[in-house]
């Protein structure tokens, strides 16, 4: 009996734009990080599977993978605002959520300094805390500029980002990817720039890319992966294998382009400097 009452109240609230939302569903790892960095995490009632930081948000109900949302699942937490990264879907579910009169805000994506600031401002706007947003965007922007400037002083390593190793075949990141963006910010050079997006590389293409460092996402229980990857026939002939230079970092931290990006740039830049020497 409570629930229809709650829903009715929420519908009434949604009709009043001046009222700030306090039952927010956050979809997308970086979006959730920004909500937390703005100090508004207590307004969250649910998150998606990719939202894994800060630790506290993992206690919230998980509405599933961000591109495969269940409309009823999202509605079941009675949200009054949905914050979603670009590409959240499927579109049928998004339409249903909109038909239930729940504001659905899409946060723009992007892989450079300005994109991070734009994301923060979009989230802060939707949460009705624009001043906090402007402050955080400025702070993160400054930190990123400083980190990038510092990173640019080091040697420009050729970095190969490997998304996955399936049957010995490397899935590498080309232009226009989050990996490409972070490598650039950290003062490195993407060793693969012949294509856009993530594609499998032939052994010869890996050798030709001649990466000095291999970059991967850290996975639990994958500590032995470094030795395994460096021993692959495709990788064995590269400078990276010669110096044993493989860096692995948490995927969301490295590729999320959220508020922690400046720190990620510093970490990556340090790791690249160390790895190549």
């Amino acid at each position: 009996m409570i629930r229809p009452l709650v829903a009715l109240t929420l519908a009434a609230l949604a009709a009043l734009p001046a009222q700030a939302a306090d039952r927010v569903v956050s979809l997308g790892g970086a979006v959730t990080e920004i909500v937390a960095a703005l100090g508004e995490a207590d307004r969250l009632v649910a998150r998606d599977t990719t939202s894994s930081w800060p630790e506290a948000v993992t206690a919230l109900p998980d509405v599933g993978y961000v591109r495969r949302l269940s409309a009823e699942g999202v509605l079941s937490v009675a949200p009054d605002l949905i914050l979603a990264e670009e590409g959240a879907g499927p579109p049928e579910a998004v339409d249903l959520l909109k038909s239930a009169a729940i504001p659905f805000v899409v946060v723009p994506d992007g892989y450079d300094r300005d994109a991070v600031a734009a994301k923060i401002e979009a989230v802060a706007g939707a949460l009705d805390v624009p001043e906090k947003g402007a402050a955080l965007a400025a702070e993160v922007g400054r930190a990123l500029d400083a980190a990038a400037a510092e990173a640019a002083e080091g040697p420009a390593r050729r970095v190969l980002f490997v998304l996955s190793v399936q049957g010995g075949r490397l899935l590498a990141s080309g232009r226009g990817t989050a990996a490409d963006g972070i490598i650039r910010l950290a003062g490195g050079v993407n060793a693969v720039d012949a294509f856009e997006g993530y594609k499998p590389l032939t052994d010869e293409a890996v050798a030709q890319a001649a990466p000095e460092v291999i970059l991967m996402m850290a996975r639990e229980g994958a500590e032995d992966l470094a030795a395994e990857v460096l021993a692959l026939p495709a990788v064995r002939t590269t400078p990276a294998a010669a110096s044993g230079a493989l860096v692995s970092m948490d995927g969301l931290y490295l590729l999320g382009f959220g508020p922690r990006t400046a720190q990620a740039v510093r970490d990556l830049s340090d790791a690249l400097d160390r790895a190549g020497s």
């Binding site: 229809p4 495969r68 009823e72 699942g73 079941s76 993530y198």
Partner: protein
């Protein structure tokens, strides 16, 4: 065979299981009704259909969220699940009868491979379409492409297998394998071109889901599935005759060629529509008819009716599990049907080994 004998020899002999099959029909109707009611009541949101019904009866305002959950999410999903389950199960039963092969499933006439290729093309290449077309279809692009792909593949296959007005079932089987391989290769090229997000979409499409069920989709897909559900029981006598072999069936007066044409086209239409709106839902088309044959014998007349009922009830049940097991998230339904269907099927097979109706 049983049925034919039954028709010429009067009262059912003790080994005739057909009356039992018709009694099962009554049970299945009840099961489907119970499943449907449960399906409306179960879900991540706490919406109760009875409370909403009481509100409507009393003329009270129904909360918007409850209205959306019940009438825009659960109800179209229930209808879609029932139709897709029934269509897949009936199509499987018809194909097994037509090909006289226990392993036949609706995919044999090329529908699944063609629909898969259509769906992948739409997901990967959809962005290249002129804005006018893409805008008009919106997110119906994938289902429309899947249906077109499935239907086109069946027509090509039917054309290949039909010479001088005679359709060779064997040619169709082998041709289906060749076309399937070709469609698989073309899909492979597209998978290679796909970006990260599209790959995820492809994977999920292949696992099937009823989550995208909307009234619009239902209105587009339902006619073909309903057509097959109405037409299939009329094929029962013909398929019974066909189990004697094509020549024998023709001798007892069954219009074999017309039977094949009707069976293939209705199955292609129904399966194409089902796959287009729900993705790849495996196992229903094979398991449901076999379960029923094991339980009540091979007579196609009750079999085709019972398959529709059991298929519908099973898919509704599987969907309930899919959307409540990890709520508020949900599982792809193809995972549920395979995880439930595989072991059950194996168990029955082992228990009744040697008693298959083939």
């Amino acid at each position: 065979m049983v049925a034919l004998l039954h028709e010429v020899s009067g009262p059912a002999p003790h080994w005739d299981r057909t009356p039992r099959a018709w009694r099962l029909t009554v049970l299945l109707v009840l099961a489907l009704a119970v499943m449907s009611a449960a399906s409306l009541a179960v879900g991540a949101a706490g919406t109760s259909p009875w409370a909403v019904l009481a509100d409507i009866m009393a003329g009270r305002e129904v909360a918007l969220a409850d209205r959306v959950v019940l009438f825009e999410i659960r109800l179209p999903r229930l209808a879609m699940g029932a139709l897709v389950g029934a269509a897949l199960a009936v199509s499987g039963a018809v194909m097994q009868g037509l090909f006289r092969n226990p392993l036949a499933d609706p995919g044999l006439v090329g529908v699944s491979a063609g629909a898969g290729l259509g769906a992948i093309s739409a997901i990967v290449l959809g962005g290249l379409l002129p804005a006018g077309i893409a805008g008009a279809l919106g997110y119906h692009l994938v289902p429309v492409a899947a249906f077109a792909g499935g239907w086109a593949t069946t027509l090509v296959l039917y054309g290949i297998a039909t010479r001088r007005g005679q359709t060779s079932v064997a040619t169709m089987l082998l041709g289906g394998i060749a076309l399937g391989a070709l469609a698989g290769a073309l899909s492979g090229i597209l998978v290679y071109m796909a970006d990260d997000a599209q790959l995820r979409d492809l994977t999920f499409w292949g696992l099937g889901s009823l989550a995208g069920a909307t009234w619009t989709k239902l209105a587009a897909a339902a006619p073909l599935m309903i057509l097959a559900l109405v037409a299939a029981p009329m094929l029962g006598r013909g398929l019974n005759g066909l189990s004697l072999g094509e020549a024998a069936a023709a001798h007892v007066g069954i219009p074999v060629q017309r039977l094949k044409t009707v069976a293939i086209l209705t199955v292609a239409g129904a399966t194409g529509a089902a796959v287009a709106v729900s993705g790849g839902i495996g196992f229903v088309g094979i398991v449901v008819p076999h379960l029923l044959r094991l339980a009540t014998g091979p007579d196609h007349r009750p079999l085709l009716v019972n398959a529709a009922l059991l298929g519908a009830a099973l898919l509704i049940g599987a969907d309930m599990i899919a959307r409540s097991l990890i709520a508020p998230a949900e599982l792809p339904i193809g995972i549920v049907t395979a995880i439930l269907g595989g072991p059950v099927f194996l168990w029955i097979l082992l228990r009744r080994r040697g008693l298959l109706g083939f």
